[in-house]
């Protein structure tokens, strides 16, 4: 078990070092200069030079990499070229939108997927099962931004129950949750469709195992076997998918954040790329990599909890 934890930890650290290098190098070769972008078409060459030196862009690549990584390790992400405010503060502001959004949609998708998956597995082969699977197939195929637009047209434009977008801030928690409800739902439904399909097939696979037959032979009902024995064993693939989905929800909400004009991480990075605010791009991407790697790490450790075989020395 210790060995398992150690190898997972080592691969976590190695992933992060490689990621920081790759991020830095990729952004080095991206065409476009932040200073020229900020000063526009009429800027005098000497003005661009003055701004480049003010932003610290005239230093060598190695020196800039060292400054960046050194800063990040001590919690200082540097100052945004475009906004001229500390990147760490900007990220902190945006995480307050993105993280709750990701958690809310994860909660929604799990809450929808678990009962559906269980239900379909319990009614395997019946018209109910076929119907559910057809519906989830549609859910998987639906692009979430299109679904988002439908939600906006119905709940914001026609019914006016919820705002069409924007985020009022957490000072008013009710308004904040209302603002996150539609985007979370738009993100959650396609995820729930995937998750319920995985859930169903994992359960169906487990149900054909020998120990299930034994349990049934002991006299347990199909439903009892499903919830007491099969569910726990089916959780490993489900956990893997949930881990992947959480990373996706955190980083992949760019389009949804645009549709609902939410000030989240995805939109920050999107804006920063077009403005060549590379220091923001670097730091946010690194942070997302850290989040993804950490989530996978936690999922790996969570296998320990659900799979006793991994706990053997």
């Amino acid at each position: 078990m210790l060995r398992y934890v150690l190898t997972r930890t080592a691969s976590l650290v190695a992933s992060l070092v490689v990621a920081s290098l790759v991020i830095f190098l990729v952004l080095e070769v991206v065409p476009g200069d932040p200073a020229s972008f900020m000063l526009g078409m009429n800027a005098q060459p000497e003005t661009v030079a003055a701004l480049r030196s003010e932003l610290g862009l005239d230093a060598g690549a190695l020196q800039r990499y060292a400054t960046w990584v050194g800063g990040v390790l001590s919690g200082d992400f540097g100052t945004s070229y475009a906004y001229r405010t500390p990147v760490s503060g900007m990220i902190l502001d945006r995480v307050q939108v993105s993280l709750p959004l990701a958690l809310l949609s994860l909660a929604l998708s799990t809450a929808i997927a678990f009962p559906i998956g269980l239900w379909a597995a319990a009614r395997r082969g019946t018209p109910t099962d076929t119907g559910i699977m057809a519906a989830t197939q549609v859910g998987v195929a639906l692009p979430n931004f299109w679904f988002a637009m439908l939600l906006v047209l119905l709940f914001a434009v026609r019914l006016r129950w919820l705002p069409a977008g924007g985020f009022p801030g957490w000072a008013d928690p009710v308004a904040a949750v209302k603002a996150l409800l539609l985007p979370a739902l738009a993100l959650a439904l396609p995820q729930a469709a995937i998750l319920s399909r995985v859930m169903r097939s994992a359960l169906v696979d487990t149900m054909s195992e020998d120990f299930i037959r034994t349990a049934r032979a002991k006299g347990l009902t199909r439903w009892q076997v499903l919830t007491r024995h099969a569910l726990r064993n089916a959780l490993i693939p489900v956990l893997t998918i949930i881990g992947l989905q959480f990373s996706f929800l955190l980083a992949g909400a760019i389009i949804i954040e645009n549709v609902f004009f939410l000030p989240g991480l995805g939109r920050l990075v999107f804006q920063a790329i077009s403005q060549r605010d590379l220091i923001v791009v670097k730091s946010v991407v690194l942070l997302l990599v850290v989040a993804v790697v950490l989530v996978n790490y936690v999922v790996d450790l969570a296998y320990l909890a659900v799979d006793p075989r991994l706990r053997r020395p």
Partner: protein, 497 residues
């Protein structure tokens, strides 16, 4: 029917009255506004960045210059109430408005003006329009309310240069924090900025001029055109002065809750050509391309009919405008003949397109029109930063579509190092002549000659003047229809009953 109890009657009366009460509450005119913008300003200091979004929030609302642009581009007094040039036009004396206060309560004086100019002209200045200050040799405070500005030589556009957002007056006390917490002299004070979401302004009760009618103004940033549409439709946004989806304008026009405001901008949209690179160094090739293009088809197809055809690099609403579209009328046969005469066959130029709709949609139409005369353009879509680097800085392109949004910018044709590489001594002399003439009639004469010069040399193909298409709540009054400079002046905006 059952006898209704007093309680039941009371309940019914309340239910009936509720909408009426709500109705009276709604009838009082609102004193706040939520304005939608597509891009968020990176900072709020208009003197150290080129982003149009900065001026769209703070120009005339928060910051003011010595002079300012009015709704139709006229130069009006602002922090300077009057001025007079010396007889030789080599120095100007500005009389500042007395008793003006910065938003932080300190007094505005001539020293602030000196500070702002010195800062913009300094060697390490990061002013994006530093050329506005070229030729100013000294700025001195004569007393608290009088400033003298000395010039190396007369400058015809001097007063108009001072009206730009990049030339607003800033306070030395707050300059270090102006980027995130601007302190100006305008009718609105900065209140709050939630980055990525909104900026809030509040009315300045101590404003020197007519106070703003609105108490609060919020600018909200919505980049996605579909989201902008939904936000207008759901009432989350009261006005979108530059609405990003022209395809939805007809729908707003048909809805009595909204008004569509169409006006002019300073944006000459052109199909620029690299005049230094063969075969575009041949005037016959450039003329051929001019005749290959059908402006109306581009305006209808890419801009949903909004836009005015232009035949030179000049705004049609300007007094000195001359209609030269006839010089390059749509004539594919003539285009083919000119190309044959120039001996050009199998031309496959790059057509570099930046992100705006006019370029991306317009580019597709331009490409198909060029194909009709035997030119096979290779479309390259780029981001802004890439466009600036590749086209604007390194001149690595054959053709591009771009809107030049600065006012009175025909002088770019007098810069031989400019990206389209037009080098003409006659044009340079014409533009230089403008600095030595301040009489309108003579200036207009020179400007007309300049328009004709670039049109007859077919430097670029001049497509159309970009229109400003905005959407607002039907009850809003006082929004600027035109865009003489990038601004959302809210001073005179109010809600009708």
């Amino acid at each position: 029917m059952r006898d209704s109890s007093p309680l039941r009657r009371l309940l019914a009366a309340t239910l009936l009255a509720a909408p009426l009460l709500a109705g009276t509450a709604l009838a009082a005119p609102r004193t706040d506004i939520v304005v939608g913008m597509q891009l968020e300003p990176p900072t709020l200091d208009p003197t150290s960045g080129a982003a149009a979004a900065i001026d769209e929030v703070v120009y005339a609302n928060v910051f003011e210059g010595l002079t300012r642009f009015g709704p139709d581009g006229e130069v009006l007094p602002a922090l300077a109430e009057s001025w007079e040039p010396a007889p030789d036009n080599l120095s100007w004396v500005f009389h500042l408005r007395p008793g003006v206060k910065w938003h932080d309560g300190t007094a505005f004086t001539a020293e602030d003006v000196v500070f702002s100019f010195d800062r913009a002209m300094a060697p390490d200045s990061t002013n994006a329009q530093k050329q506005l200050f070229k030729g100013i040799n000294e700025v001195t405070a004569i007393d608290d309310v009088t400033v003298e500005i000395g010039l190396d030589e007369p400058k015809g556009l001097f007063l108009s240069n001072l009206a730009w957002g990049d030339a607003v007056i800033v306070s030395p006390a707050s300059i270090d924090t102006d980027k995130t917490q601007p302190v100006g002299t305008g009718p609105f004070k900065f209140s709050k900025w939630v980055q990525g979401d909104r900026i809030e302004l509040v009315r300045n009760p101590d404003y020197w001029g007519e106070p703003a009618k609105l108490e609060r103004a919020t600018f909200k940033f919505i980049s996605d055109p579909t989201a902008a549409y939904a936000a207008m439709m759901s009432g989350d946004i009261d006005a979108f002065p530059v609405f990003p989806a022209p395809e939805n304008l007809a729908q707003f026009q048909a809805d009595s809750r909204f008004q569509v405001i169409v006006g002019s901008t300073e944006g000459e949209t052109i199909l620029a050509m690299n005049n230094k690179r063969p075969p575009f160094d041949d005037i016959r090739v450039r003329e051929a391309i001019g005749h290959a293009i059908d402006r109306k088809a581009i305006i209808d197809g890419a801009m949903f009919g909004y836009g005015t055809p232009i035949g030179s690099h000049f705004a049609p609403h300007n007094a000195a405008y001359e209609d030269l579209t006839g010089l390059s009328g749509h004539d594919p046969e003539k285009a083919k003949a000119l190309l044959a005469e120039a001996g050009v066959t199998g031309l496959k130029p790059t057509l570099v397109l930046p992100p705006p709709t006019y370029a991306r949609r317009g580019g597709e139409i331009v490409a198909s029109q060029l194909r009709a005369v035997g030119i096979e353009p290779q479309i390259v879509n780029v981001e802004w930063a890439q466009w600036l680097e590749q086209v604007f800085k390194n001149h690595d392109f054959d053709m591009t579509i771009i809107s030049h949004t600065e006012p009175m910018d025909i002088e770019i044709y007098a810069r031989p190092d400019y990206y389209f590489g037009y080098d003409d001594p006659v044009m340079r002399a014409l533009i230089r002549g403008l600095d030595f003439t301040s009489k309108d009639e003579e200036r207009n004469e020179l400007l007309r000659a300049a328009q004709e010069r670039v049109a007859t040399h077919f430097v670029n193909t001049f497509l159309f003047q970009l229109a400003k298409t905005g959407v607002a709540d039907a009850r809003l009054r006082g929004l600027w229809p035109n865009s003489p400079t990038q601004a959302t002046d809210l001073t005179a905006v109010y809600w009708a009953e």
